[in-house]
């Protein structure tokens, strides 16, 4: 195996005569924290769906964890984790039931699940809440739990779709701390966010505009290239070029 977690070349998705993703090419290294930014409607979600094996590309090549996004979607699904702001946990199940459920999906053994669950609850300081409904947890805790569940089966890559939207500043940082720890263990992180300070936490950042990747570099280099002082300004400069707008 190579050192590449995600490889995309000319990856394209069209819906009718609308090109949602327009021949994007990039590479994500193993263990990298890769920020995937773009304005609403720039094509982030569509691109992410193709990489997760949920949507077959119209053209181009891509592999995720060494598997082809056209033919090996089942293998891809087994080697990735996914978490989004909108949906990740069942609100009407308890913390423990949620963990049990997701671990079960990936066919882990009972002994493994038991040991790992205890460890996870301890690490998240959720032992007292283990049998409470997820609904009753504060959002920040839910998101931290959701992330832990997404990497419970030790995937090679985890996709995070706006994981920290609406989370308070302290928990947001705790969340990023968890991301760092996962990356240190070698899990590749692919993350989208609307918080520009979080873009700074990524090793490299790509910015999508109108279906294309208009910039891809380290945050420091991006700021240098665009001659601005913050990622916020980089983003605004690029996003203002956008012709199309969407949701």
């Amino acid at each position: 195996m190579t050192n590449t977690a995600i490889h995309a070349e000319g990856l394209t998705k069209r819906f009718g005569d609308f090109t949602a993703v327009d021949a994007i090419s990039f590479e994500v290294k193993k263990g990298e924290i890769f920020g995937f930014l773009g304005a609403n409607g720039a094509g982030k979600t569509t691109a992410m769906r193709m990489l997760c094996g949920l949507s077959i590309p119209t053209a181009g090549k891509a592999s995720v964890a060494g598997f082809d996004v056209y033919k090996q979607t089942e293998q891809i699904k087994r080697s990735i984790g996914y978490m989004s702001q909108k949906f990740s946990l069942y609100e009407d199940l308890t913390v423990r039931e949620n963990i049990r459920f997701y671990a079960g999906i990936y066919g882990k053994s009972d002994a493994f699940i038991k040991e790992k669950t205890a460890f996870l609850l301890k690490e998240l300081h959720l032992e007292a809440e283990a049998n409470k409904l997820v609904r009753s947890l504060p959002l920040g805790w839910k998101q931290k739990l959701a992330f832990s569940v997404a990497i419970f089966h030790e995937p090679e890559i985890v996709f995070l779709d706006e994981p920290t939207g609406g989370v308070d500043p302290v928990t947001r940082r705790e969340f990023w701390n968890m991301i760092y720890k996962a990356a240190e263990r070698g899990i590749t992180i692919f993350v989208t966010t609307h918080y520009m300070d979080e873009a700074e936490y990524c090793n490299r950042v790509s910015i999508m505009v109108d279906g294309r990747i208009d910039a891809l570099d380290t945050p420091t280099q991006l700021k240098k290239t665009f001659e601005v002082r913050s990622m916020d300004e980089v983003f605004l400069k690029l996003a203002r070029r956008a012709k199309r707008s969407g949701d």
Binding site: N40, P138, G166, T220
Partner: protein, 307 residues
């Protein structure tokens, strides 16, 4: 006179076992013509507060008034005067821009023509597409339409519940520019947001967390209340740097903040002390600068003192 008075308002949901205390007895006042921000994360109680003030929910305790009218007793009168934009996009997707606007105008006993001046700046941006259905609009355009609809009856107080959540940075900027110009027309605006950086765009803000108000002040005032020295530190290995900083005796708190780490120092320590400490730990030329706190620093500090 105060446009909004919130006096010891509390609200809870659920029964005994799953009781959630959404608002724990909060106080604040909003002056006439003010652009007032309610800043806090999801689940802090912002939406409950807005629903109580717009007469959609009854508080469990305390009292509140809008435009001098009691939110419980005078709910009918309040409903004639306020404009409200709920958190979710809440227009009719299958009606066109123009139909939505005209519908809301009639519901509020007015016409588009009568108050066109008020919405002109906002509405004129989407007017070229007035025959397009609302469901087919982009996020930014939907927002402009929703704002136009909330304004069409010339409300004396405008409530905007998380208008910028999930909206990208460009549209957020535009939206705040619109709010500034509305304020100039004398409308009192209450706006809630989870984005700390939007606080500086308000006249005054209430920082809210877990149903409690952490602070009510002007953005300037909130920042001035941050008494500890604060430095920003940067180096090549940021993760290692954070760990080392947290071990420094002069550090009260250290956390990542964009490309820097922010370090709150105990009184008596300075940026120089941090530099010296880092150099002792094999950092060659650490980038250490004394900075002014920003709202997010204040929010973090207030959250931690509250705990």
């Amino acid at each position: 006179m105060n446009a909004v008075i919130v006096n010891n308002i509390s609200k809870q949901y659920g029964k005994k076992k799953d009781l959630i205390q959404a608002l724990k007895g909060i106080f604040f006042e909003v002056k006439q013509g003010e652009l007032f921000g309610i800043i806090g994360p999801d689940g802090a109680g912002k939406t409950s507060l807005f629903r109580i003030l717009t007469t959609l929910l009854l508080p469990d305790g305390g009292s509140a008034s809008v435009d001098g009218l009691d939110v419980v007793k005078d709910f009918k009168a309040i409903r004639h005067r306020v404009g409200y934009m709920p958190g979710r996009f809440s227009l009719y997707q299958d009606l066109t821009i123009e139909e939505n606007l005209e519908f809301f105008a009639t519901i509020f006993n007015t016409t588009v023509k009568e108050n066109y001046d008020l919405i002109k700046d906002i509405y004129s941006q989407i007017e070229p597409f007035k025959n397009r259905r609302a469901g087919k609009l982009s996020g930014g355009m939907k927002q402009k339409l929703a704002l136009s609809c909330a304004l069409i009856h010339k409300p004396s107080v405008l409530f905007l519940d998380e208008p910028t959540t999930g909206v990208d940075a460009v549209s957020r900027k535009e939206f705040w520019e619109m709010l500034r110009s509305l304020k100039e027309q004398g409308i009192t605006i209450l706006v809630s947001t989870p984005y700390m950086d939007e606080a500086s765009l308000c006249d005054r803000v209430a920082l809210i967390q877990s149903g409690e108000i952490l602070s009510v002040d002007s953005p300037e005032g909130v920042i001035n209340a941050f008494k500890h020295p604060l430095v920003a530190v940067k180096d090549n290995n940021m993760l290692q740097l954070l760990n080392d900083l947290q071990r420094f005796e002069g550090v009260q708190d250290a956390y990542p903040f964009g490309e820097y780490h922010h370090v709150v120092l105990k009184d008596g320590f300075t940026a120089n002390a941090v530099s010296t400490y880092l150099q002792q730990h094999n950092y060659h030329q650490p980038d250490v600068q004394t900075i002014r706190a920003d709202i997010e620093d204040c929010f973090i500090a207030l959250m931690k003192t509250g705990e």
